[in-house]
Symmetry: C2
Amino acid sequence: MDIKVNFDRLKKDIESLSQIGRDPQGGITRPSFSKADLEARDWLKGRIESSGLALGEDGAGNIFGRKEGKGKTIMAGSHIDTVINGGMFDGSIGVLSALECLRRIKEENIPHSKPLEVASFTDEEGNLSGDFLGSRAFTGLLDQEILEKGLTQFGVPLAEILEGTNFTIQSIMEAHEQRPDIEAFIEIHIEQGPVLETENKTIGIVDGIAGKHYRWCSFAGKASHAGTTPLELRQDAFLGLADFALKSTQHVATEHYGSMVTIGRVSVRPGAFSIVPGQVDFSFEFRSQSKKTLEELKKHLFSLAEDVASTRGLEFGSKLVDETEPVSIPARIQDIMKDECENLGYSSMTLPSGAGHDVQILASVAEPGMIFIPCVDGISHSPQEMIQWEDLEKGANLLLQVLIRLAS
Amino acid sequence: MDIKVNFDRLKKDIESLSQIGRDPQGGITRPSFSKADLEARDWLKGRIESSGLALGEDGAGNIFGRKEGKGKTIMAGSHIDTVINGGMFDGSIGVLSALECLRRIKEENIPHSKPLEVASFTDEEGNLSGDFLGSRAFTGLLDQEILEKGLTQFGVPLAEILEGTNFTIQSIMEAHEQRPDIEAFIEIHIEQGPVLETENKTIGIVDGIAGKHYRWCSFAGKASHAGTTPLELRQDAFLGLADFALKSTQHVATEHYGSMVTIGRVSVRPGAFSIVPGQVDFSFEFRSQSKKTLEELKKHLFSLAEDVASTRGLEFGSKLVDETEPVSIPARIQDIMKDECENLGYSSMTLPSGAGHDVQILASVAEPGMIFIPCVDGISHSPQEMIQWEDLEKGANLLLQVLIRLAS
């Protein structure tokens, strides 16, 4: 169908939203239910209403704009919250592109039988209680005890953050009761990685979303004087971590190409120039598209850590932080995307998503689909996050065609 | 000569001094010119005076107790300052054993021709301005600009610490002008390492003191998303450090047995679970008894760091923090110690000192000699620092015989 998004309007929306929550470091700091986020919510609700869509909001603060139809809903969206000092595209383009698609369908009176809905989910970035608070609430996947007992990353309980809003832990827990039947949920997002740019493709058709395993780990050895403890008598916890970091990376790189392993946080104690490290605490995460690979990695990597520890006279310890299952994107959704890319003449490739997104939570209640556009240098979660606007225009036009086809 | 120290008195002195500067964590916090240190100085001066020795103090706050004689002075001593939350033996036993030896020589009217002197040097632990402030002042090895412009580890300039004492930067700089001619300086100290205990020996006769090279280093790569950046496209600064840590340790262990290399402080940035580290800053030090080895390590290890960086798409940077030359103990001093150990029937071994001590600074103006006694589990700079008292008794008796022989 020869219809395109109004890209000037979409771009203006993205730029307007990016003015809300600007921080002194030039990024955007707009965690859910912050003052900036409340302002952004009001702005988004105004944009939905002025588009003539039916505005909705559930008990978790998820915001919807609906165009009625018959049967199961075709939904698209993402989130408008950000990490601390984040960028202007992560999440926002998914919500605002979906809104633009629905506006164009309405303006042009494009026929569709099924209901169409744009969704903006609360706290995708996990500032309040692990990732995906809003989409987990929407799908009924939350644990009330964690919401009540856990601390937000701001060091206070969630209930305190909710004071002065219309939301409570109870209303969040009940949010899923208001959910319509959903046939498919489509999210457009920046890739947040370098693959599309490296391969010089405009559109990424996501074929699966990685499952992940987050663990907080430690090696304990013995702190000792760096001038007087011979190398062969040391129990250097840091060298244990160095050994484990290289061996685990080597294993994933050679045995499970495409899977990821990362040590991002490291704390070495006592942390003095002339003291052999007695303890090292570190974050350890791995991700894979394949459930089987995740299982193999769980077994192999932690047994590798034990081997390193026993060879070096150290103790290895670890605690699970979070775990999610991989999600496959159905062939039907991928095929529609490929088809429409060809019709539109856009270059595309299929690729997995290593990052987590709301769509992986929605996969428990709907067919998931995901479109990536490139981001410059793969940079995200940073004020330097940037896109080529023409890539977004193409991505939004693809989303429009996919939604029309799914809702027809 | 059949004379022994009064060990009950020595032990009581060590226990009395250890009551000054007790901290809530059960250790001793007595940095030079702190309130606790000023109290300890007064206590030490009282002990010197009541022994009938001539009390002296120079412009750097180094404290002396002298028994006159003819010719060059035979000196023994160490320091009474401590690290933050340190132990009760490091330094103190060197000062108080020397004091006990001079007391016994005086009490028994042991004949000696040369002057004998006990010395307690200011700020050996380097809380105020690098290590060995007092012994460097005594030997004329200080840089006035560093004293004036540098910060103490308490975050304030040295001049501020000196307010309310009798000392100034000027008086510290002039301290060496009052120094007598010294023939030999002997220090008894805990080993601060595990070798004597492992080898089951009571006395360590030190044959050399390691030179060291301290550097603050970094690898810079590129922070990126841990879920979306394929392993082969990462510039992970932490993996660079892991690689360098293992390779540099391997090189020292296999090519320069007995030398040391240590990475004790590590800071990984940005330091988040799901972000590939873009930068890692770390301390890097190595030590050796051999000047030639130190030169080889300087060349080899930093070129190794550059290799690791270039293989992994990182930048390596570094800045010199401190550097000292190795010191050899003259055969004459070692032979006297071996001889006297045999006479006394004490088990001994020669070994190098990996840690730095005042004696290595005194080596620029006197023949240096050093006696080690074991410390339990090699632990030092900690409230857990412990000795077997009978080892100290033997060490002090050896010191007594060595001083009598050198001064005869």
